[in-house]
Symmetry: C2
Subunit: 390 residues, 2 copies
DNA sequence: CGAATTAGTCTATGTTGTGGACTAAATATT
DNA sequence: AATATTTAGTCCACAACATAGACTAATTCG
């Protein structure tokens, strides 16, 4: 519910407005900020003063742009004080990163571990260590880590922050509170597919509207509309893997039949490409494709067709601005992108003038960890006043 | 983009906050409002004073609740001053209504016309007349009509307000500006499925989260999340009719195959129920069903199964809080509701703890016109200051 | 009937943004 | 080279709005 607006809330909003404009434009003078925001020069000066004092922005010297008149002083987001921690547990690796307020990745560590084999407690402890080291390093660099978000591959209970069920990890009711309380700043938990989409938003293509598809063992999707994540009524939106491709298709572990996952999930794709389960990785499939392996090519085509079918349903329902393929689809994009696009055009082209473009994510496995850190940064950008007064 | 907050914006927001609280609770005293909103009694008194002066709320006498202390004076939304016009063009009828700020329907007129047969200009003129009469009557009742929204069955260009293509009506590039400028208040155009969903939100079940399915010739859906309509990147979200049921199913007019519309659209349903096209209405099908007609029953079952399949994809993607069936599915609900529910449970039950309930819309053909008027009311509630200062 | 209690108003005060005057620092003009 | 013009940023008096607490009003309890 929206809250009452008092003087402090007014100030908080205007601070966020100015900070957001600085972030969006990279470097702006106070005078330009006044014109953009509609606030007076006086007010902008005061707001910028507070932001500088809080270390959120810095003056970067006068601009000599050849225009006449006194040159303005450019203001930029400061990357030297506030930072955020991103954490990720996934099936076969752990990853942490520290991102500063200017959205520069300052530190990152990835550790290959089979988290299905290890008990959850061990994985959590290992991640905790990794993160503690990275945070120490960040502090040495003069950064102030103000928050963290942990990405887990499965639905997260939005109220408690616990993981109810992460089938890919084999986790069930894992209480993450112990890990999260380990730090001197708040740490939240969030679904990995959602965070990968946000990673793409803040560190990838820069598009404000898209559906990001994370192909892994399951297939998740994160919908970003006008720069904001769509979560649905309970926070479970984006289960693209169980969208129907063929209602009488192969049995799926979800209880349904013919779900996308059975055609384009990692296991289905690898099996169709001719690997014994667990013996073949996506990297090797890409290698075989480069060598012209027909079985691998057919497997990709089938997966891409199914992905196109499921995405055509998704586009009809949620009308995304673009489709971004990530996860295992990124390395395979050369062999699936066109088939997906063709399938979409065949099913949607007549109805809509334009079909959303299908593009590949340039972010690798770190997408979710980046999105996690980015979410903290976003929170600071949305309410800088919260940081200034404490 | 969020705007700068000045004193007037602060006031505007607090006015909206107070008005919204009055609307949500039906009747509240100033003292209760102060406690609810966190504003001081002084401020609430001033805000309420302005709202009373503007005719948006009224005092309805002291409450004698048996508690000790001075009794408070209850404030309610006033239905006696501000009102909104809802208009709807559909395939076989025109409909207009006037709704007051208390969301009471004050006037409504429906006219059966075959708008496919008539040229668009005639339909528009007829609707204009109908609306002008109703507005006159409203004015006689002392109401001040502050805005209107027109519902059309097809995608609307959000920027110009023109209808690009309404296949069910046979309309193409119909410029509605002439009709819309006819009134001394602004009139916008909006998609009928979206407005039907909003009608359900404000005049129906009262749920804040649901997917409303408008079964007509096409099948549209409107997604409401936390009391707000989800539109997607271009405003074309909710095309449930072209969600894939079977990728190699019957050819659809959209260019795809096996779209939901081919199984559960009005034409498909009536054809399967044994009618020659145009000879049988939904009402008669319901009659036959009551009489135990097997062909009609099988047709409904097949449509319901397909609807369940498509909805399971939709639920996986957008995670709605409930499914509300409207349009032609409302009179047929007795014969399709269970099959839809069973299909959903079979496909989703294992994955999610609970499957969204499938309920029937209690609103009839007026859903969209009500939603249209409701949208104007909502706008007033969201920014009452805009009305007060002019 | 007076004490206690709650509703609502009134007045002085504080916080924030505004608008215009003012100072500062550059380029253009003479 | 000196002066005018232009733009950036600061300063100060003022206005808008919310706050806090005193005050008045209207009720129930004892």
């Amino acid at each position: 519910m929206s809250q009452a607006v008092r003087h402090d809330a007014m100030r908080a909003r205007n601070l966020a407005l100015v900070l957001g404009e600085v972030g969006a434009r990279g470097a702006v003078t106070r005078a330009a900020l006044a014109e953009i925001t509609g606030l007076t020069k006086t007010t902008v000066s005061k707001l910028v003063g507070d932001l500088i004092e809080g270390g959120l922005v810095v003056e970067t010297g006068a601009v000599r742009d050849g225009e006449r008149g006194r040159p303005g002083v450019e203001i930029r987001i400061s990357g030297r004080s506030v930072a955020a921690l991103g954490l990720e547990v996934n099936v076969d690796y752990l990853s942490v990163c520290v991102v500063d307020l200017a959205r520069t990745v300052r530190l990152r560590r990835t550790q290959a571990v089979d988290n299905r084999a290890a008990p959850p407690v061990d994985s959590i402890a290992r991640l905790g260590n990794l993160a503690a080291n990275v945070v120490d390093e960040a502090v040495e660099k003069g950064l102030r880590v103000v928050g963290g978000v942990l990405a887990v591959p499965g639905p997260v209970d939005r109220t408690t922050g616990d993981v109810r069920n992460a089938p890919n990890l084999g986790w069930r009711d894992v209480p993450l509170a112990s890990l999260l309380r380990h730090f001197p700043f708040p740490v939240r938990v969030e679904n990995e597919a959602n965070l990968a989409a946000l990673g793409e938003l803040w560190f990838g293509s820069g598009l404000p509207d898209f559906l990001h598809v994370s192909g892994e063992i399951g297939i998740g999707a994160g919908l970003v509309v006008r720069g904001r994540l769509f979560r649905g009524a309970h926070g479970f939106a984006g289960e693209l893997g169980h969208v129907v491709v063929a209602p009488d298709g192969p049995q799926c572990r979800c209880g349904g039949r013919g779900c996308l996952e059975q055609y384009a999930g990692q296991d289905a794709l690898l099996a169709a490409a001719g690997g014994v389960r667990g013996q073949l990785g996506v990297g090797q499939v890409a290698q075989r494709l480069r060598e012209g392996d027909e079985k691998a090519r057919d497997a990709c085509e089938r997966a891409a067709w199914a992905l196109g079918v499921a995405l055509s349903s998704a586009i009809n329902l949620v009308d995304p601005g673009a489709i971004v393929l990530g996860g295992i689809y990124a390395p395979l994009f050369r062999w699936i992108g066109d088939v997906v696009g063709d399938t979409l055009r065949a099913r949607l082209g007549q109805m809509r003038g334009t079909v959303p473009p299908v593009i590949v994510s340039r972010l690798g496995a770190e997408a979710a960890a980046l999105g996690a850190a980015g979410q903290v940064i976003e929170q600071v950008m949305a309410d800088p006043a919260a940081l200034l007064h404490t």
